[in-house]
């Protein structure tokens, strides 16, 4: 502010709006924020590159045709086969079981919390739900193996009991694991639906269930689909539960859920324990499988975005 230097006798100085000292703190903060943004973007780019390069190298040796049509995945055996289908099928089966559990239970909890529970009940239950989301997956893995599976074998109706490690228990445990994620995010989306829409529906003689399913659920759909997709993504990428509870069997496509089979993540975890020589073909398989998983998650996200655009009801 330099107004005093411009004062002329008798004439009051005009108030100065000129630039004074540069605000250094502001610049520094902006730089730090840009840096923070770059770190996450750069990490993603780095991961994609470090996945892509070895994957390309892998397909230099193994043909893409063999990778997607061969029905055996035995890169670590004497007789080597490089068909990713067994891993893919196991991943899809476990994820499908998890989603079958997580969607009804998760959405049910969300509807209860958002539309039925009183304020006090919700204030009590929601934090508990969110704590559940923080249980380490290794705990879920042993829970599946040592608690769910014995119980499942007890009540199993037919003579062929589930194997010690099987996809069904892994899927059940994984489903329970993602319930809190789905429930909590879906509840957020439903709570965000304006009260005025609910009142309009109640004033037309709707029951609570009709308000929930015909008005609130469609209006919150984009958030709910996002919750489900995040749940599925967690299920696809989950490693510990499937490694512990579904096993590492990869010789052939296994479709019976009471048998054990390795998912893509379980194979990666099993193979990538440090005893494979770097740049060997065995080592490269990890990256080929990793890329496949990455593409799957990406496709799922793209699909869900399209679905949301198609079906959501935009309120304001």
């Amino acid at each position: 502010m330099t107004s005093t230097s411009q004062k002329v006798a008798g004439i009051p100085a005009a108030p100065s709006v000129r630039r004074g000292r540069p605000r250094l703190g502001e610049k520094a903060i902006e730089a730090l924020l840009v840096l923070a943004a770059i770190v996450s973007v750069a990490t993603t780019v780095g991961i994609v590159i470090s996945l892509a390069v070895p994957t390309v190298e892998f397909f230099g040796t193994v043909s893409l045709g063999e990778f997607v049509t061969e029905t055996l995945w035995t890169p670590l055996f004497a007789e080597k086969h490089y068909g990713v289908l067994p891993l893919l099928v196991a991943t899809l089966i476990v994820t499908a079981i998890a989603v079958t559990i997580a969607i009804p239970v998760g959405l049910g909890s969300a509807i209860y919390l958002s539309e039925y529970a009183g304020n006090r009940t919700r204030a009590f239950l929601k934090p508990i739900l969110e704590i559940l989301a923080g249980i380490p997956t290794v705990v879920y893995g042993f829970f599946a193996l040592l608690a769910v599976n014995p119980w499942l074998r007890d009540i199993w109706p037919s003579q062929t009991k589930p194997e010690f490690q099987n996809m069904l228990v892994a899927g059940i445990a994984m489903g329970l694991m993602i319930v809190p994620t789905v429930a909590s995010l879906a509840e957020d989306a439903m709570t965000a639906v304006p009260r005025s829409l609910r009142e309009g529906a109640y004033a037309l003689a709707s029951t609570k269930m009709q308000v929930s399913t015909r008005v609130v659920l469609p209006a919150a759909l984009s958030g709910i689909v996002a919750a489900i997709v995040l749940g599925i993504s967690r299920a696809l990428g989950e490693t510990m539960i499937v490694t512990i509870a579904a096993g590492l069997k990869t010789d052939g496509i296994i479709v019976n859920p009471i048998d054990g089979a390795a998912t893509m993540t379980a194979y990666i975890a099993g193979a990538g324990q440090g005893d494979l020589p770097v740049d060997s073909l065995d080592y490269l398989t990890i990256f080929a499988v990793g890329s496949t998983l990455f593409l799957f998650t990406l496709a799922l996200n793209a699909l869900s975005i399209r679905m949301v655009r198609r079906f959501r009801e935009v309120y304001e």
Binding site: E199, G200, A205
Partner: protein, 292 residues
Amino acid sequence: MTYPEDPMDTTIVPPRLSAGLSLHPSGATHGGENTPVIDLADVAVWYGDYQAVRGVSMPVARNQITAMIGPSGCGKSTVLRSLNRMNDLIGGARVTGVVSYHGQDLYARDVDPIEVRRRIGMVFQKPNPFPKSIYDNVTYGLKVNKMDTGRTDDLVEQALRGAALWDEVKDKLKTSALALSGGQQQRLCIARTIAVRPEVILMDEPCSALDPIATGKIEDLMHELAASYTIVIVTHNMQQAARVSHRTAFFTAELDDAGVRHGRLVEFNDTGRIFTNPADKRTEDYITGRFG
């Protein structure tokens, strides 16, 4: 609008809201021109321990427009929402006194609030169409009340005509209701309300979010609707009350000895009387602009 085949036609038999016998056998309190559709006797509404409004005794006459006016915080909307049990949705809200509908206490234990709202519909302050198509907005109430059997298209047209909206939307029934203007949205909300054929329509400041032209259309519509429906309107616009209503209730908010604000009904009379020759000094001050 007329529904000659309507089995719910209430001119002969009062509707039942509950499985039990209605409090008064049909005919005893019903049928006369002056018998109120809704009658409030010493009604007070509480939110927890707070008495928001008290001392409300007034009838709502059939096929008339009854206006509730008064300054902000006088409890007029609260009383309106007690007429179709919308206050049930607010935790801790309760009603004392008697709100009777055709002689049945609306707050009796065996009354089903869903049935109450089937017969006493509501239009809100801000237009709140569902984020669905125009058509689906009108059929929503038909579906949840299982009235969408057969001639749904006709019912939709009837309701939209009844709300003076048909000509503007007949070519775009499948487009989103949110693409309509505010005034059209509010008329759509009226259309979906009359689609389920209520007896009473409650309107909570239905024009406060609209421009004067849209307001004029809604007011014209209210005159038409009064032929078939009983209307209760809350408005902060005194001219609107004077223009549209037959009878007017004036509410105000007063501090009690402990300094707590309570709304109360000051005066209820024919609209002409309220605006030209009010009995109470507070009413006179309010309508002449000396207060509020």
